[in-house]
Symmetry: C3
Subunit: 641 residues, 3 copies
């Protein structure tokens, strides 16, 4: 290092220093070593020995040398102070000094710049210095535990002040610090027992931050993976997915937790399970602690087609508890197969303020102008004039592979499951299916896996069902036979329950022919279907609709309604449900109409007492709806109904 920049760790020059032409004499800290000195520089020194041929001087506890008697103009005694110039560092390590005599000079204090050890190189028993960014500060009943990330890894550093009392209270999350201490093994995991810890400020901090940032940026770089199938439409999204993969890898490298919220259906599972697997793998490779992935990634199913208040309050409270109790950063929120619409904006606005970055991967019709500014990343085929056919599961398989290419072998069948579950008309569906077939899945089984996921999601309710879902989807499952058996079991039960529901409801379908020529089927699900069981009204309506389409061909509209809701499905008719909802809301005073959907599917809520008005008015509007043979009902109706 160069002494002439060594002292100004505060980054502020002394007043008038620019014009200060006085020579500098360095005052070395006691722990400075020969690495901290330069030939030609001046130092404050103390005599520690007087010999015939000169005097020995200390310029720090670690650095001494000789001033030859030829350079002395007077006699010295031990402990005399003087200033010296370093004239030579000999090959054998000896230092030679001259006396430095100046009538005026200014003193610059020099701290020892210790040799830094990269976290990945720590070994038990070493005395080390580490520089990194603080990712977590957990106060235990005993010591304070700092998780510190440098460009090579993350390690725990424990500092003890008093039982349960915060050590180094000035150090905060995200600070860049230098830690000195000894490396110990605690229950088999390396940790640093802290002797010294200092926050870097000013230029030092900026420099280190820049260095860490660059290194982490490099490590965050996603893998370059070949597409599983060639699909030009998908390629438009690849850069967005790469950006998100980079962001998620960086999030892991910085030690921030990740919370995944996903639509609780087949496609949502096909999206979230691979990403969770890839992130868990990456977390384990970054952290030295096997439990890390359990603390740092959590997947949660969402019942509603938007980020509803109950989920928001819980997530936020959970995040704040994690911060208060474990000193964790607030989590990164990853919304999958959900989260692209205006309905999500208020929640996002709040979370953003809380330093909770949000990213969305979704294939539902987005309100980009509303959400874009609030998101750290937004991947959605509609942003590139593509549509729901590119399912979230398909996107997230690629995303997972970019995060950890090692998961590829586990995922080849997943895009086919996702596509079939969401009834995707993607032009490459057959290729995805062929790819899955090459892994031993035939089309019937792929459909069964989708049904089984849906069925499991229904009964698991708010539970992520981690192990069960992995076995159903056969991702991170080590027993192929078990996967088969489980899918058979769940798919058979799902089918039985659907049959039971069809038996009850199908004979109660009312039929009429609209002026447009479309067939309209309506059914009161409160009266004619089993409630509070599988399949719920949304799926029940879908299944009834599919049967009618299969039997009578298009155009067909089906309405399944209950006391205060209606689910809509159509094939061959352009319904434009959002427009209908907004018209109904204006026309029917006190109807409390709300809802959403797209051209061919949707759901509506209203107050019970206005049901007849709402349904009648809805049917009138449908009678006027334009036929369009191109339009077919797509994914499962996304509704919490």
């Amino acid at each position: 290092m160069t002494p002439d920049t060594a002292g100004d760790s505060g980054g502020e020059a002394a007043p008038g220093s620019e014009s200060d032409s006085r020579p500098v004499v360095y005052d070395l800290a006691p722990d400075c070593t020969v690495e901290d000195v330069d030939v030609g520089a001046n130092y404050h020194a103390v005599v520690n020995g007087v010999v015939e041929y000169g005097i020995f001087v200390d310029i720090s506890d670690e650095v001494s040398g000789l001033v030859h008697e030829s350079n002395l103009d007077r006699s010295y005694e031990v402990d005399d102070r003087l200033t010296v110039t370093l004239t030579e560092i000999r090959e054998n390590g000896d230092l030679a000094f001259d006396v430095f005599s100046a009538s005026t000079y200014r003193t610059v204090v020099v701290d020892h710049e210790p040799e830094l050890t990269p976290i990945e190189d720590l070994d038990v028993g070493d005395e080390v210095h580490v520089e990194g960014q603080v990712a977590q500060i957990k106060q235990t009943g005993g010591p304070t535990v700092f998780r510190v990330a440098d460009e090579t890894g993350i390690v725990s550093a424990t500092a003890f002040r008093e039982a349960g009392v915060r050590a180094f209270p000035a150090i905060e999350l995200d600070d860049v610090v230098r830690i000195g201490g000894s490396v110990e093994s605690h229950e088999g995991t390396l940790q640093i027992e802290v002797d010294s810890m200092a926050r870097l400020d000013g230029d030092d901090a900026a420099e280190t931050r820049q260095r860490l940032d660059a290194a982490i940026g490099e490590r965050a770089e996603p893998a370059a993976v070949e597409p599983l199938v060639e699909w030009p439409a998908f390629e438009k999204l690849r850069e967005d997915l790469r950006d998100l993969a980079r962001l998620l890898r960086r999030t892991v490298l910085e030690g921030r937790p990740i919370r995944v919220r996903h639509h609780a259906d087949g496609d949502g599972m096909c999206a979230s399970v691979p990403v969770q697997l890839a992130l868990s793998n990456f977390i384990e490779s970054v952290h030295d602690d096997d439990e890390a992935s359990r603390h740092l990634i959590k997947r949660l199913p969402s019942k509603a087609p938007y980020y509803e208040m109950e989920d928001v309050t819980r997530d936020l409270n959970f995040a704040l508890e994690g911060q208060a109790r474990h000193g964790q950063r607030l989590p990164f929120l990853l919304m999958l197969d959900n989260g692209s619409t205006e309905e999500d904006v208020p929640a996002y606005e709040n979370l953003t303020y809380y330093d909770m970055p949000i990213a969305v991967v979704d294939h539902h019709h987005p309100d980009p102008e509303a959400v874009e500014d609030l998101l750290a990343a937004h991947v959605n085929p509609y942003l590139y004039d593509e549509d729901y056919r590119i399912t979230t599961g398909m996107m997230c398989v690629e995303l997972a592979r970019m995060i950890d290419p090692g998961v590829t072998d586990d995922l080849r069948h997943v895009p086919a499951v996702a596509g079939l579950a969401d009834r995707s008309k993607a032009e490459v569906m057959e290729e995805f299916i062929a790819l899955a077939e090459s892994e031993g899945y035939d089309r019937a089984r792929l459909l069964d896996v989708g049904e089984a996921l849906d069925y499991a999601a229904h009964w698991l309710r708010y539970n992520d069902g981690q192990s069960l879902v992995n076995d159903v989807l056969n991702v991170g499952c080590d027993d192929e036979d078990r996967h088969h058996e489980l899918v058979d079991f769940l798919a058979t039960r799902a089918e039985r329950d659907v049959e039971r529901q069809m038996d009850a409801a199908a004979s109660h379908l009312d039929h009429e022919r609209l002026d447009s020529g479309a067939h309209l089927y309506t059914v009161d699900l409160d009266e004619w279907a089993h409630r509070f069981t599988y399949p719920a009204p949304g799926k029940t309506t879908g299944k009834l609709h599919d049967r009618q389409v299969k039997e009578h061909g298009e155009p067909v509209i089906t309405i399944g309604y209950g006391p205060d809701f209606a689910v809509l499905r159509s094939d061959g008719v352009r319904l434009d449900i959002p427009r209908m909802v907004s018209e109904l809301n204006e026309e029917i005073v006190g109807g409390g109409v709300s809802g959403g959907g797209h051209l061919v599917v949707g759901s509506i809520k209203f107050v019970k007492g206005m049901r007849e008005d709402v349904i009648d008015s809805l049917i009138e509007k449908m009678a006027d709806a334009e036929l369009d043979a191109e339009l077919t009902s797509q994914a499962a109706v996304d509704t919490e109904l």
Copy 2:
């Protein structure tokens, strides 16, 4: 100490001892020191050395001295036994004995009375003796952990007998014990590794208990805090609050857990959050263990306006599990903004039997004669001819300050939030608001905070939402901006949901003019309002009512009803709902009518099939109700509806 009382640790004199005139010879335990002996007393001794000028005798392992040859009437050899009298303790510590010769005497065994170390003075490495009361006995897979409280603090003492086997099985919760052992540091927390542990009995126990009790009584003394605003009506309650503060501080000092049940609305939050903060602070100051407050205080929202069976069974089971699994005392139950009525009696009766003391702070109309005997404390303005205008939040801010005056700066705005949330007409409301304004809260924000608390409580359901609620109320929240942002978010969402509900329901209000001249508004909320969302029927009715009052002035009654319930609100009419309910219950056979409330607000339940009868009969009664311009609908209707 005085040897003549030292030996009777059993507290019971030997049979016939009163008339026993034989001299006493003490038999000292081996670890007795010079502190256990008195000049003039007689001791059993053993010769341990024979010298020219006499014999050296041991009267314990620690206490020896000389019998001068001038006092010997025969010769002794080493190990000879004899009885001696202590004649002198010289300045240099030497002891001088005479031979004690008596043809008859009785022996009293003396245990060593070790020097006791106060828990607050424990230091690592010390060998100590501690006396205290057992507050918890936790059997781990390894040692048994005793939590012991003395007059200065609480510490863990670990005793090992065999893995997972209870050490000192005779020692029970609440016993007074003397522990000998060495002080060690376990994960940074001090604990005593037990060498010896004995239960004190009889007089010793009584004396120690008295000493601990006195000291704990002193430490339990609440802080003398100045009222935040001058308010004579409130001062009537101050002594009751001080008594409760003392009781809660004592509960903490004795290591008993505290379980807080509170009404899940704005005022209930304003009551419970400050008390929880103050108690947590105090727990942390008493215990050496940072995790203590997590184990020792738990706050739980209650949906019902009384202590309902589901909560009782859960609390009781939780308490018993804590006792069985962690060896904790059964908790102290603190009911806030809830719990003053007859409806709570059966649960209280049961808990009291279980050694679970109960205290209530409430401002709902109490049934004091029913609950009083069952409560360790009952603070309620109605007990002093005051009323709901003194809200529970206002009382609990003072209570919290008495427990820990350090919380005052965090709480100055809370009484205003509580008062506005519960629509208090307290004469000092403007002063509370001014106080809050001086802390930077204007009236609009105070109202918003109340709404936000209510809204958060709705979505958090049975979760206490600790961190989120603290941020909303800005108590123990370290980020003012975050508080603002969060309140904005929640209040805006709450307002939007209320608007949506008003849009649906308001146009369906039925109006009639009662004979009394009062306006009556009724609405079927099952038909015309959104169900199972925010605002629930109780709040929906309140909001509809407020609008009508604002528009048409008083007197106004509003009834919002569903299939099996009705919510009542009135301004300017004396309804006396409890009387109405009891009349309805008699008049309508098979109506299953129950419910409660006060003069101007209330709720009623009935069986669905009798709804028309109940509502009609209710309206008839209302037609006869006396007008009273003084009466205005007060707090949010306290109902789980």
Copy 3:
């Protein structure tokens, strides 16, 4: 041991070995001791000393001896190699060898067969070898922890490779292993710190497995207990119960977790609580770890009268998580007072595949041909032409006593509680009651305990309420008074709630006289009863029915119905509900009729819109039902309604 079998640990002979007539020379592993050698066998040796009278040779690090010079035909130097024959092991332990000279021989490698220490004999500080079967493999952030069971106990063995990295990855659950290591005390529990661990294969494994199996079989043998009362009908079931007791004890000895699912009513509690207590005791006696019973047995109430999908998915996911996270075996599922019917088959099929053995103790009418093949044990009185009168509680008290006879004193009153709760007409009911009376319970209290259990089960919902339930049933409760008080409290509240329900509903009962002469009472519980509280529709119908029977005598049928269900109870009429359900299902298209029950009780579900058709049709069928004075409504209606 015999060297000639020592080396072939792989269990496979060398090619051509059968016909190999060359003599064998053993090559001993360095740690072989004198226990590994036999007189007459040949060994590879090395000279370690040359003396006048011969040479000293080592045949392992531990085994040396002399070849006398009389047996030498040439001179040797230190480190020379040769082959020798062991000729004698002298009394003083000295070994004598001859030189073994053969022109051809084959070498067999001999591993040291260490002396094995039984797990129950482990002591801190010992260096030991243990052989056992792996019952759990838990990877921690530090070492890998293996739970190993031998014929005497279960112990943890910790092996460290690298932090969080699986040690001995080749070792799997259920493998038979030999472990060498030192016994340490970890938080007071013994564990082995592993130095070596090897899987036994082939014959060695088979032999050890056989030995463990035989020993565990012996330890699994249930206790021979005398019946609490003499009851020939019950004796038919005793062997089945013994078999199940043996199976459960074996399950514990092998370290597999047990999950108990039981009907959430009085009889179900009387069945499950004793079994849980007995198994917990046995687990604690087998494991050295006090926490073991918490991890290894879990009791869960089931609301439905069969193993419903929500429970199945949760249990399965929980089991898989336990396997993934704690390396546990998948659990043994024990169904109590539930699980005998065809409805349970699909779930069983799936679980069986997952290596989750299932056993059922039930007294509901079984479908034995459907379930038998899937169950490891099935105890049901109907399998022996007995019926529901032998309640599950009665059976499980005996089962518990066979598992741990020490629980007997705690259980004498339980059969009476179970029998009264389920209205058993067992001929020995009076004897059970007399037995309970001799323990201080009169009939009124026994009924109260049953009511209190039912009431607690209602409010605890999915919580097992361990401590509370134990106190109510007075099993494993150490405070008799508390039990009394708690039962009073709950039974009184239950009675009050039942009264409230009767007050509402009783006056709305519709009466008609059927052609058969039976009285029919019907009531719309949705209209005339309180919903979503205690008592639920099933119990409400039962209580209404009982009143009518008491007032009007038999024959009586009662139907309590709601929007989409009906509950049926009868006395003196042969309804045969399963037949009625299947007829209704055929006759009423789109009715969605399902349900079940027995001759006199049952429940039916249907879609709301078909209620009138279903109820009318049901009543027609009932009008035709044969009277049979023998038939009385038995146990509480088993329905989730």
